[in-house]
């Protein structure tokens, strides 16, 4: 219990951060078929924009402005880059974003330097909100929870209750049909791409100061975003949500399991001191997402909630 309750809370918060990061990619991927390799780079851009904005104003401005800026950059990338490559197929698009991730990394290094920047949690939120089994619980984590849930509600409202949402939903499940409804497809794509990037940027704003804002943050986050999208399934924001929370929980809960392979498979004669036997479940926790990625693609290629294989 002592580790279970905090783990649960941590898992949910981490999961929500993941969802914020990957919901945009799910939108982009489902509608445009582009598995955007550079998605985590927009997360990084969000954090750096926020850092720059907080230098001259404060965190609350950054919370609103930085995602918008990240979104504008994303829309620009779609309009002047991705759209040109579209004719050459999905592999070309994937490669384009692969190169873009490279490029954004290098540009960030030039503009903001190659070391971590001093992007801090705002003072108003820098206190302990409660204690849980001996460890402090920082208020900022609860704030993250709050922002993530607000985003979730806003997204849900946008998709279910507005006209634009209906078009996007239609486009999610039947990407080829939107053009027939008389909508300007390139513009919808650009908007969705921009919005997806803005969501990643938002994750950057609130994740960048909690974690560290440095040029390798995109590379660290990159693969895990794919895992969420693939495990969640094509065209399903619900799936992405479930996958995010699931990954968050699995990873944090696994950390609290100290059981080693030697103890589990001892009956097979595996020694606890051998190389394999001494590996504990906890030490493997960060690899769980990749294991899940491979297993899901092999066993259930449409993902948990996807409506079609991709």
């Amino acid at each position: 219990m002592e580790t279970f309750v905090p783990s649960l809370l941590n898992g949910v918060i981490y999961g929500l951060l993941l969802f914020m990061l990957s919901s945009g990619l799910t939108l982009i991927f489902s509608m445009m078929g582009v598995l955007n390799f550079a998605h985590a780079s927009f997360y990084m851009l969000g954090a750096y924009f926020a850092y720059t904005i907080t230098q001259s104003t404060n965190f609350w401005f950054a919370l609103i402005l930085a995602p918008i800026l990240a979104g504008l950059v994303g829309a620009g990338v779609e309009k002047w880059g991705l759209r040109k490559v579209h004719a050459n197929g999905h592999v070309a698009e994937l490669l384009f974003t692969f190169g873009l991730a490279y490029l954004i990394d290098e540009i960030v290094k030039i503009i903001w330097g190659r070391n971590a920047v001093n992007y801090r949690i705002p003072e108003a939120l820098d206190f302990t909100i409660f204690r849980l089994y001996g460890s402090d619980y920082p208020a900022y984590r609860i704030f993250m929870l709050f922002v993530a849930i607000s985003m979730l509600v806003a997204l849900w409202f946008l998709l279910k209750k507005t006209r634009a949402g209906l078009i996007i939903q239609a486009a999610l499940t039947h990407p080829h049909m939107v053009g027939h409804l008389g909508h300007n497809v390139p513009r919808i794509f650009m908007t969705v791409f921009g919005a997806g990037c803005a969501l990643a940027g938002l994750a950057g704003v609130i994740g960048g100061n909690y974690l560290v804002t440095e040029p390798s943050m995109a590379v660290l986050m990159g693969p895990i975003v794919f895992v969420v999208v693939v495990v969640g399934g094509m065209g399903s924001l619900e799936g992405a949500f479930i996958a995010s929370i699931l990954l968050g929980l699995l990873q944090t809960l696994a950390i609290s399991v100290d059981t080693t392979f030697g103890e589990i498979f001892g009956f097979l004669g595996l020694s606890g001191t051998s190389e394999v036997g001494s590996i504990s479940i906890a030490s493997l926790a960060p690899m769980i997402p990749f294991l899940m990625l491979v297993l899901i693609l092999m066993i259930r290629p449409r993902g948990l909630m996807g409506d079609r294989e991709f």
Partner: protein, 423 residues
């Protein structure tokens, strides 16, 4: 029937054509490989050539998947690495064996061990990976690469921990009188295996399986209705790609005499993707060009500018956007026109494109260099030919904006006239 036999004879390329298209390039390759040492290369040149040889085989093996099989992999270095580790362990076995199989196994043939190791790894990992093509395949390869890279660091007894596994190539029997000590002798080893690898992979494209691999890339559904299981085709091709990657790993094992778990990671996997794509995945020779260029860039360009990664990224993006055929595509477009005698018609446009690109490139380089020097701080500035370029200097902006704009205007006008012609 005689009629058909005769027509069939007409269909196939003539002996002369076959010679020109299939034998001559390999003769030329062999001659080039043999001539290089006569120019008296320096140690650096030899080292670089050896790395190029390894990367040529590695990039070609990658293109068996991407170019010929339509399979985008983000984890090809896994097979390079596993083949290499197999070879390094074999090298140690040769060094310590008193008698028996290993004592008689010459180091010169280590790449065969790498080949077998890569094939085995491909056979095991390919089984779950090849069930799907397209994006799922790419994602599985990514996931597996992450898992193997993590395992590489965890299992010290196989991968030697961070320091990796080292070997000594100057043990065992000598073959062809090569002690393999100095890099100039290693060159002959690399040249031999590069030739074998290139020839082997070219031959593969000529086999029924090689052809089926292309057919499966173009249209996996149709392949099922001519009696083939596309999964099986992909799986077999995957094993071969892994095997040739392992071959290059075996070459690397002898060349470097060390293998570290870093070799399994996503970084070399990404690099080989860049090599193949920048070179041109639609042509057999493309990855060779890409491997040569990128090896040079990686080892030499970093002497001139620390922004070489940025240039690499820019080059890659430009290829993806404007020249999907890669360098080989550009080159073949040129020679095709030359052969068709249409050079006169297109040369003007090409010259224009070349000038436009060069101008845009010039401006971009100034921008990048000024920015990099600025970001390094401590008062460093970009000072080519005695110019003192900073962001505050109006001349800087002139040098950046004018060529870039001029270049883009030229390229756009050319693009427009081309469209006009087609319309």
């Amino acid at each position: 029937m005689t009629d058909i036999t005769q027509k069939y004879a007409n269909l196939a390329p003539t002996t002369a054509q076959k010679f020109r298209q299939r034998v001559l390039p390999f003769l030329a390759l062999a001659v080039v490989l043999a001539i290089i040492p006569m120019s008296g290369p320096s140690g650096t040149a030899y080292t670089l050539l050896n790395v190029m040889g390894i990367n040529i085989v590695f990039a070609l093996s990658y293109n068996m998947l991407l170019g010929r099989g339509g399979l985008l992999s983000f984890g090809h270095a896994v097979y390079f690495g596993l083949g290499g580790f197999a070879a390094v362990h074999a090298m140690d076995a040769i060094g310590s064996a008193e008698s028996g199989f290993w004592a008689n196994y010459p180091i010169f043939f280590l790449p065969v061990i790498g080949f077998a190791g890569g094939a085995l790894a491909g056979a095991v990992i390919g089984w779950p990976s090849c069930k799907r093509a397209g994006t799922p395949f790419a994602m599985i390869s990514l996931g597996i690469a992450e898992l193997i890279a993590a395992a590489g660091l965890m299992f010290g007894s196989i991968f030697g921990g961070e320091e990796g596994v080292t070997g000594d190539r100057m043990v065992g029997h000598e073959v062809f009188g090569l002690s393999l000590g100095p890099t100039s002798e290693v060159y002959w080893f690399i040249a031999f295996w590069t030739f074998v690898g290139v020839a082997g992979m070219f031959a593969f494209t000529r086999t029924p399986l090689g052809k089926l691999s292309e057919a499966t890339r173009d249209n996996p559904e149709r392949v099922e209705f001519i009696g083939y299981n596309p999964t099986r085709v992909r799986y077999l091709v995957f094993i071969f790609a892994g095997a040739f990657a392992g071959l290059s790993g075996g070459m690397a094992a002898v060349n470097y005499e060390i293998f570290t778990p870093e070799a399994l990671s996503l970084v070399p996997s990404g690099l080989v993707l860049l090599m193949a794509y920048i070179g041109g995945i639609r042509y057999f020779t493309g990855p060779i060009l890409g491997a040569i260029l990128l090896t040079y860039m990686q080892s030499m360009l970093s002497d001139f500018t620390e922004a070489w990664l940025l240039y690499l990224g820019l080059l890659f993006i430009c290829i993806v956007m404007f020249a999907p055929g890669g360098l080989a595509g550009v080159l073949y477009g040129f020679t095709d026109a030359l052969r068709a005698g249409k050079l006169g018609e297109v040369i003007g446009r090409w010259a224009g494109q070349a000038i436009g690109s060069a101008l845009a490139l010039f401006g971009m380089i100034i921008l990048v260099e000024v920015a990099v020097h600025w970001s390094n701080g401590f008062g460093e500035t970009f000072e080519p030919y005695g110019l003192h370029l900073t962001f505050g200097n109006p001349l800087t902006w002139v040098l950046i904006v004018v060529p870039v704009v001029a270049g883009i205007v030229i390229l756009r006008r050319l693009a427009n006239t081309e469209e006009g012609v087609i319309a």
